[in-house]
Amino acid sequence: MRVNVTINGDQRQADDVWEGESLLYMLRERLGLPGSKNACEQGECGSCTVYLDDVPVCACLVAAGQCQGREVRTVEGLAAGDDLDPVQRSFVEAGAVQCGFCTPGLVVAAHDLLRRVPEPSDPEIREALAGNLCRCTGYEKILDAVRLAATRQASGAEAR
């Protein structure tokens, strides 16, 4: 089947999509957007987290056909050109990135958290990111990154 979907602001069309196919497969194998990672295919690891109509979801658990006419935003669409989103910048600077495979999903999940809760407590961060498995970092620097991004956003908001 054919799926028309807006991805990172661009109108995209995917052809010959298998009806049982996931949004993740369509992104990675048909639309040239391999930033979202495939690691468990059961919603356990969060590496494929993307926004679907502004709501973070596991792209592996969304049927491609369910995205017809909807808007998807992936990790590739968070930065404005070379200008990293504060969450992305904080992940780099806090050392929250190691092998990097869980990072795309974590960045999207953390981005969503800070939109909902601008100054999250540590338990709120841990809970919000519970669905994003990381096998390298021990999670601590991911918390540092979210705290750093929150501080940055707060001071950015004050500056405005």
């Binding site: 295919e41 919603g43 658990l61 049927a63 999940a109 841990r126 809970e127 919000a128 669905g131």
Partner: protein, 297 residues
């Protein structure tokens, strides 16, 4: 495979009548796993996410009617005050990403014994509204679960909604997992106080082929509470009552050993969960009435 996108519930029911083998999909949190793992290849998927009426909730007579497609996150955000037990169970489902997509309707459709909302639906006397082109019927939650991953739906039926009374008294839900988040229940327990009926609803999850009401525990507690006149003038429960309630709750289970825990552990933990959740709910009940707060201090 076909991908069918009805825009109304009537359209979906017509398809289901004509092709009962189609697999409904909403949040996809169960169905897509089976497809990704190639555990099944249905002839068609029936996408329910464009049907507006499934994603609404509204008062219906004395009850709340929660559409089968309302995701957990909205139950938590929008119904936490009126359906506290269901909201508590919803909070323990998977991760934010899962709660953004998964639905109570899906939980009922999958009918996994470990589904998190089941014990709450049982303890709260929920009714499941199911529909087909033949009409609509209401199935009490206690009659909905037939076996491991089997429910009372006929092949041409779809789940339309669940109906629950807004909580008039405290409700509690608790589950034991194997880590601190992202857990499938080892076992779970829900308790709902129904003072207007002079009884308590109680149910166990993930500890039998189906979620189950803990009837003996309910009856024992109803007797204890009314004999001592505690509904009218609440006082802290005796430890012996809470303990007996826990034992009876555990006896409602017929658990197995599996990857998440042993049968013996499940029985033990259920008794602890039942005792604790009853304690929390009753403490809340003592604390809610203005005149009661002193007596429960």
């Amino acid at each position: 495979m076909d991908f069918l996108i009805p825009s109304t519930f009537a359209e979906a029911l017509a398809i289901k009548a004509e092709r009962p083998e189609v697999v409904p999909i909403a949040g996809g949190t169960d169905v897509m796993v089976e497809l990704n793992f190639d555990h099944r290849r249905p002839t068609a998927l029936l996408d329910l996410t464009r049907i507006a009426e499934l994603t609404e909730w509204a008062p219906s007579e004395n009850l709340l009617r929660v559409g089968a497609g309302v995701p957990y996150v909205r139950i938590i955000d929008e119904l936490g005050d009126r359906l506290p037990g269901l909201a508590m169970a919803s909070r323990t489902v998977g991760s934010p990403q899962i709660r953004n997509r998964g639905t109570v309707g899906g939980n009922l459709g999958a009918a996994s014994p470990a589904g998190d909302t089941h014990p709450v639906l049982l303890a709260c006397d929920a009714q499941v509204e199911v529909a087909s082109v033949r009409g609509t019927r209401m199935i009490p939650a206690a009659e909905f679960y037939l076996g491991v991953k089997r429910n009372a739906l006929e092949p041409d039926e779809l789940i339309a909604a669940v109906h629950l009374a807004p909580a008039a008294a405290p409700q509690q839900f608790s589950k034991v997992g194997t880590r601190n988040a992202m857990v499938i229940a080892v076992c779970s327990f829900a308790v709902a106080l129904h003072p207007e009926q002079g009884r308590v609803g109680a149910a166990v999850g993930s500890a039998a082929p189906t979620p189950r009401r803990a009837l003996a525990a309910e009856e024992f507690l109803a007797g204890e509470l009314s004999d001592a006149g505690l509904w009218e003038s609440p006082k802290p429960l005796l430890d012996s009552v809470r303990r007996r309630f826990g034992e009876l709750a555990a006896e409602a289970a017929s658990p197995i050993d599996d990857v998440r825990g042993t049968a013996a552990y499940r029985r033990h933990a259920l008794a602890v969960l039942a005792r604790r959740t009853l304690g929390w709910a009753w403490q809340d009940y003592c604390g809610t009435g203005e005149t009661r707060s002193q007596s429960c201090a």
